[in-house]
């Protein structure tokens, strides 16, 4: 459900950037979404189609780069992907770790005409 406000914020940001570049239309929006945010691409697409009507971003293609939740072991220092129900380091079995990726939620670039 948070996709509605997230999509609105994303669209505001994209339109602001497009206006700054004096672009006529936005063809593509490249998004980076961390797995941990729980943001669902299909939902963003659904809201986007609705919210972007009548704006210069109407019809723009959305591209999602999904970043897996990644932790760095505080014991052996090795990075690894966090598995759903097993939060232990696959190398040394420690359960003390720092989340280093997976919280991303940003617009990387837009393609405009």
């Amino acid at each position: 459900m948070h996709e509605l406000s997230i999509t609105q914020s994303m669209l505001d940001l994209v339109l602001e950037q497009a206006e700054k570049a004096e672009a006529k239309s936005v063809g593509k929006i490249n998004l980076v979404i961390g797995e941990m945010t729980g943001v669902v691409g299909d939902c963003v697409q659904f809201y986007f189609d609705f919210l972007s009507k009548g704006t210069s971003a109407e019809g723009a293609a959305l591209s999602f780069k999904v970043i897996p939740t990644t932790a760095k072991c505080r014991n052996c220092g090795k990075p690894f992907e966090l598995k759903e129900f097993d939060w232990t380091c696959p190398y040394c079995k420690s359960n003390n770790m720092e989340i280093v990726a997976g919280k991303e939620l940003f617009v990387e670039s837009i393609e405009v005409e």
Partner: protein, 218 residues
């Protein structure tokens, strides 16, 4: 033409949250964002906290709900100023809704502001309100697997309150495993087992709260 943007989608929310934070700090108000799934005990915790702090601390409450003012009415009976936000379908509070509600909070006469977020373990974790600390209430009947299902919420929390510990004899809930999982990914977290029904553990929570407030004043 490709334009590099690299901007946080929730940057606008973050900016308003920072303004809220400045407003809290200039009025010397300590602010908590209370989050949990529906029915975990946010309102019960607020009522218990008000009871414990009566005469010691001036408390105010902002109540976030999708609809209804049932919780606000229950809290209003305790004689503390309470402001209701109805999100009208939105599953979380954001900094802007909070900012609007703050116009009705007597910040100058308040030491502690408790913001009760909408019951939800996903969306509220994304939206900063300007709070000093994020408090997550996780109750024993929900199960001890919740950190694995909602990692962001457990990662962001400054405090996790394990509520309804009076029900532990009837449930398969491994408090140690639960706490261990959270501490594994969140080194800053403080965990307090409590029961809002019996009052067990509430003292430790309140003493943490008072400690935080006196640290800020000094």
């Amino acid at each position: 033409m490709e334009i590099k943007v690299v901007k946080d989608i929730l940057g606008a929310n973050e900016q308003i949250a920072q303004k809220n934070r400045q407003l809290f700090d200039s009025n010397q108000v300590f602010v908590l964002n209370l989050m949990s799934s529906p029915g975990a005990g946010k309102t019960s915790l607020i009522l218990q906290t008000i009871k414990q702090l009566k005469g010691k601390t001036r408390v105010s409450v902002v109540e976030g709900d999708i609809s209804s003012s049932l919780d606000a009415e229950a809290i209003g009976k305790e004689g503390v100023p309470v402001v209701q936000i109805n999100t009208g379908g939105e599953c979380h509070l954001d900094a802007n809704m909070t900012s609007t509600a703050l116009g009705s909070v007597p910040l100058k006469d308040v030491d502690l502001l408790l913001i009760e977020n909408v019951g939800n373990l996903v969306c509220p974790a994304e939206f900063a309100l300007g709070e000093h600390k994020k408090v997550l209430i996780s109750s024993t009947p929900e199960g001890d697997d919740k950190p694995f299902k909602y990692p962001l919420m457990f990662h962001e929390a400054d405090v996790v309150l394990i509520n309804k510990i009076d029900l532990l004899p009837y449930l398969k809930f491994d408090t140690d495993a639960f706490s261990q999982a959270i501490k594994g990914i969140n080194q800053k977290v403080e965990i307090f087992p409590i029961s809002c029904a019996t009052g067990q553990g509430i003292e430790k929570w309140v003493s943490w709260l008072l400690g935080q407030m006196s640290q800020r004043q000094s």
